[in-house]
Symmetry: C3
Subunit: 382 residues, 3 copies
């Protein structure tokens, strides 16, 4: 499975480490005494885990607890931290069958190699405009822009150099897409949405649909008057948005995702939100309207954040947590009812409705004990 | 940002208030003593908040707590209630730089003006059928229907006068779309879905997919036999459905959204549900199958409503709340575990699994105290 | 409503029961003494509930609690268990107006008849490739494959015999779709996704988008390096996936849905998950990455399952439940805060933050009581 390239396209290990964007990581390929040939010349056709890799793949040890998998690993090379390599040598007299690649950040190096393989495993994506795409004459496409089949680009839209727009996308009037952005198939941008450089937008993403705003229509009691949503959606650079995620346009001002925000699938960002730089949200999160989130927040899956709230920087919200108030200090926050076997849950949940009363009863019991206390003492002193 | 129209297209204030559908609201433009010129002639190019508006925009005060923003407001005009204007005059000796527009319902008036600007800010949407649309000869389109590029309309579908269908929509066989409805890009209607007048359906909406129904297949234990979903989906008039929301078709009867229902994004309405008129649901709500909801209910974001339930009219469910039983009285209902810093949460959550036992222990302590009570009295009487 | 076929296309009851795939169910059509004509010849144009069926429909009693609806049922025939028919005869002197069809599994028989009607009520779906579809010359389509308008099939994709692909789908490079699968409109498969036989994929489904994986980029503190997702998505046979549900591709290995898995709408399956055969999930469920679920699990709506967890076979999770730990024993599990009227909820929720403290106070009260206990005894013995 993890073999990604045909043998004739597999790079040599040394070449791969240079080709990938490993600036600052300085991976060090060791030559073991018993080794035959130059380890830099070993061909690497893919990436695998310690247990699944075969003789043409590179693997990595990022979690020291998986050290026991090293002796049996069948990969051609393994990326690991110098201290983990020392620990391996201290525990094993025999040299491993794989080439050690030392690096202080194995997980990051793995990420960068995976990016390289991802770019090279597929036949190069087509360049140019597919003849079935419908591009308005008033749209402006920079050089090297790719537009897939059956994509619509409306008037006034501007697409930056090197951007790739997949099949079946709709780019609304006046949208701006930054250079080197990648829109997978079937992304929908309403009019006037602005996307920064190097964005990755996945299939089913909808940016710029109307925020949910209605005024009670006092002329027709019980009915709603729509509040037209006049703002836009603005994404900074290096933003990724997962499949079927939606970000609504603002009521008056814009809804904003700052640089480096990463959203997983099935997320909903309400109108007028501002999500701070490099904040990451796992799948199924909802953020109601007008909430401002700080930088580098991490929001666990299916967490639900209320509207008109303020989050500090570096707030971590556990998965499944509901937040109904500001979170002004960094830290981790949780609000999950603990799981239990159903009948146990029933027994304990039945007490929840009596908690305030139980507290009162406990207070009464304490008062009673306190009242008796002197009497008891007087007995003790008898 | 909130400037929406070029100067030459900006209406005069008096003209704007007449052009918008403000019947019954009777906005009153005041002429202040110090003012130069006719306030009705001031051009208004957009709408802004009290803090963001500039000299060509109109703003509004709907929340009296924002009154402190009035003196510094740079808008051309501000909509506010007569009593808020009186309060302003009582507190400030100097007339404001903006024109007061008095109206008993500033938020509703803002909504109506925003609608007007939304309709006028974009170049008129194209009329007619885009040549790339694939319209079955057996579909019936009324006069003035617009169909965007790459949209498919299947046999037997009927589209009412003035309806606009965006790019990349799929309208299944036999669907009915009411007059003046707006389908944004990439809406999918399965066969036989019926949509009323003036609907607004956002991108990614799917109406009429199969409800989730399976019978245990006793011939193949552990396996499921699909229950084909033979009902449909019916939307009343004035329904709005948010981006990527899904409403499933009924098993035998129809799934129904009554007049004026408003659904936000990422909502799931299960098969055979009936949602009462003017009920509104915020994003990420799920309603399981066969639940009947009353009129004018309000369901907070990410609330999850079980199946086969009945809700009265005017039920409000807080965001993040799970409902597993009928709610037969109007009112507000909640079921959210309170948020806490994670270690505090851990400490308190650990007690949840002991609640039934704690109640028992408290009862024992109370009984013991009660038993001692007479004895204590006898001691008192010593 | 439940009439599905025009009178001239309605099959006779006997014919219908033979045509539907009722192998092993052996339905038995009774002839009642008072009946005129052969009950097997009665035409059946549709299926309805006991209360909604008219004279040309068949109905069924699967829930014995609905027995009171039998006498007033206006259907042409009713499927029921032999024991329910005996109970009916014991309680009613007069024969019903409907023909009894005895079957040990009425709900399953209903499911199979509904399948038959669903296949026959629509004019036959078009065969062949719609001229507007864009099929790469290097894609391989078996005989009898139908491809709807404006669908894109990329290079190297293979589609099995009898598969139907709806309008506006995108089938990525190298995908495999098994025979007799049905893709409704607007399904998106990223490159290399493999779908088994007889799959049903609903509109808005996205299979194979990138899993959510980022490594902290130590060279740029606070920023994220994308982990390219090199694995795929593999679906077994007989899998159904609901509207707007997403299944992400694996980081290194594949994300897998085994045979017979049934997913409702708006579900999110994270990368590297393995969902066991015949497991069913209701709408809005989220499963974070690398979780392995056993066979025949049932996950209630909006349940949220954490990542890197293991579930046994036959685990049932209640709707709205959050799971943050392994579930290694079959059974039903729940974690829902009980619903209450809002002010009652507020009162009780306020105690949650004091639970650990309350437990401590209760212990103190118990210790105090225990300390007094001997003293009390000594008093008793006075």
């Amino acid at each position: 499975m993890p073999v990604l390239l045909a043998p004739e396209r597999a790079p040599a290990l040394g070449q791969l480490l240079e080709a990938a964007d490993t600036v600052g990581l300085k991976p060090d390929i060791l030559t073991l005494p018993a080794q035959v040939g130059d380890p830099r010349q070993v061909p690497i056709a893919g990436i695998g885990s310690l247990t699944s890799s075969g003789q043409s793949e590179i693997s990595f040890l990022s979690n020291p607890r998986l050290q026991d998998q090293l002796p049996g690993c069948a990969a051609a090379a393994v990326i690991l931290r110098p201290e983990d390599w020392e620990a391996y040598r201290a525990r094993h007299a025999i040299a491993p069958a794989w080439i050690p690649v030392l690096c202080a950040q194995p997980y990051l190096l793995y990420a960068l190699l995976a990016q390289w393989f991802d770019q090279h495993r597929l036949a190069g994506l087509p360049q140019g405009i597919h003849p079935s795409a419908i591009v308005d004459p008033d749209a402006v496409l920079a050089d090297g822009v790719h537009v897939g089949p059956l994509t619509v680009i409306e008037a006034g839209a501007r697409v930056g150099a090197g951007a790739r727009i997949g099949a079946g996308c709709i780019i609304g009037a006046g949208c701006v897409i930054g250079p080197d952005s990648l829109l997978h198939a079937r992304v929908t941008l309403y009019h006037g949405v602005r996307v920064g450089a190097r964005a990755i937008l996945h299939a089913g993403v909808v940016l710029g649909a109307d925020g949910f705003g209605f005024a009670p229509d006092h002329r027709n009691p019980g009915m709603w008057a729509k509040i037209a949503q006049l703002g836009g959606v603005v994404l900074g650079d290096d933003v990724e948005v997962g499949a079927n995620t939606t970000v609504d346009r603002g009521a008056i001002e814009d809804t904003i995702l700052e640089d480096g925000v990463k959203l997983d699938n099935q997320i909903m960002i309400g109108h007028n939100c501002r999500i701070g730089a490099h904040t990451a949200m796992a799948g199924c999160v909802g953020v109601a309207g007008s909430t401002t989130m700080g930088k580098r927040c991490m929001i666990g899956g299916a967490a639900m954040i209320g509207g008109h709230l303020t989050f500090a920087d570096d707030v971590h919200i556990s998965g499944g947590t509901t937040v109904m108030s500001d979170v002004l200090e960094p830290g981790r926050y949780t609000s999950v009812f603990p799981l239990a076997e159903h009948t146990t849950w029933q027994r304990n949940a039945a007490v929840i409705g009596q908690l305030a009363q139980l507290r009162k009863r406990l207070r009464a019991a304490e008062r009673q004990a306190a009242m008796r206390q002197p009497m008891q003492n007087s007995q003790d002193s008898r």
